[in-house]
């Protein structure tokens, strides 16, 4: 019991004083923005199509900014990319807050093509505000505490994502028996067409592939939670 209490107190100390993970938080922010920039650039043509077909009248809270943006979608995307590019170069709390607001609007406009990865990026946009403080602060200061706490939450977020997926599959009879892979291989908009010709359709293969997926997802999350110290407070 005493050990547990001491460990918790160590974690508390670590959230305030650790400077080791500053580099990690800087790269989490940079890679998140870089990923978002690439995604926006690659889906640029479809962004222009979406504004032609979408109606935003039902979104009362967002209706004004959304209508304004959809009429100037190219300008919106250029400014969004420029803000993220600037944040990769130099950290600023204000700009990161604006990026989060732009991210929410982008998410709302592109709701028909949004996937799980985009939801993760938006969650990281919000944590990025606290991550990677603009200046070098002393251990024990608020920015260091907030940055370390945000990095802890970011890592928990990624870990639970795998856990939720792995556990859901483990609880599913179709996944446990491998039938889910059989179903997936028959959905022509989910299964890679190049794989269809070479993928051996056999129940044993389905079973093995399904269990590789389940075990990978569970192992990733188990590692994240069990090896807590190294994953969350380990060296960069």
């Amino acid at each position: 019991m005493k050990d547990v209490k001491q460990k918790i107190l160590n974690y508390c100390d670590f959230l305030w004083i650790s400077q080791d993970i500053r580099l990690t938080s800087t790269w989490v922010v940079r890679l998140t923005y870089l990923f978002a920039i690439c995604k926006i650039l690659l889906s640029w043509p479809v962004s222009l199509n979406i504004v032609d077909i979408s109606e935003f009248s039902q979104a009362k809270l967002y209706s004004f900014p959304l209508r304004w943006i959809t009429e100037r979608i190219e300008l919106f995307l250029i400014v969004f990319i420029a803000l993220m590019a600037f944040s990769i170069y130099r950290s600023s709390y204000l700009i990161k807050v604006i990026i989060l607001l732009f991210g929410i609007l982008y998410f709302r406009i592109h709701i028909s093509i949004i996937n799980g990865a985009d939801a993760v990026v938006l969650a990281l946009f919000s944590l990025a505000i606290l991550l990677d403080p603009p200046k070098h602060y002393k251990p024990g200061s608020w920015p260091v505490f907030l940055s370390n706490s945000a990095l802890l939450l970011a890592r928990i977020h990624i870990t639970t994502l795998y856990f939720v997926s792995g556990a859901d599959k483990l609880l599913s009879a179709a996944w446990r028996s491998g039938k889910a892979i059989d179903y997936l291989s028959q959905i022509d908009y989910l299964f890679n067409p190049h794989l269809i010709s070479i993928y051996p359709t056999h129940p044993i293969i389905h079973f093995v592939v399904a269990w590789v997926v389940i075990l990978f997802e569970l192992f990733f999350s188990w590692f994240g939670l069990n090896d807590f110290e190294n994953l969350f407070f380990g060296p960069v």
Partner: protein, 181 residues
């Protein structure tokens, strides 16, 4: 993990704040466990908007769940003009999906293939409205007319199909035939 004796002592206030962050993490992990284990609670939570938003952004997933794989909505399109009979049904989005797999830099094609499927799912699961008065149906209509329709076509047939792999059931949910305005 550093030795606690090597770190400066925190004030009571700072210690409480860090304990709050750790408590937040523990509560979040408990919510994740409960939502993963109970489908009933999961469904109930979707009725409340703040809880639903928390679920979408804080606990994304599960991905490729059994229900999502087993019940797939597919959308087929047939067209006709004055001089030609009805074409064979074409699955909306399949060309774009194949284009993406021929050139992985064309990510826009993968997104494009998802639009029709998203709208079809919304129309099928949006039980509160009749499809033809639904916002998503109007959006689908615009999507087909602006992006999918060959210029010479003057009539459309949109067919919504539900495929259930578990029971090998293929059911035409509904289909609409209308003239292009």
């Amino acid at each position: 993990m550093p030795d606690s004796s090597s770190s400066p002592h925190l004030t009571k206030q700072k210690q409480i704040l860090s304990l709050l962050v750790l408590a937040l993490v523990v509560v979040h992990l408990l919510v994740v466990l409960i939502l993963t284990g109970s489908e009933r609670i999961n469904k109930k939570i979707n009725q409340y908007r703040p809880a639903k938003l928390y679920k979408i952004f804080a606990i994304p997933g599960p991905f490729f769940s059994e229900d999502r794989i087993n019940n797939t909505v597919q959308l087929y399109l047939k067209t006709k003009s004055e001089s030609t009979p009805w074409t064979d049904p074409v699955q909306l989005g399949s060309d774009e999906f194949n284009n993406y797999h021929s050139n992985y830099l064309r990510y826009d094609q993968l997104c494009e293939s998802g639009i029709a499927r998203f709208l079809a799912r919304q129309i099928v699961y949006d039980k509160k409205q009749y499809p033809d008065s639904s916002r998503f149906f109007r959006e689908l209509n615009r999507y087909i007319i602006t992006h999918q329709l060959a210029n010479h076509s003057d009539s459309l047939q949109v067919i919504f199909i539900m495929k259930k792999f578990e029971t090998y059931e293929v059911d035409t949910l509904f289909h609409y035939t209308f003239q292009v305005k």
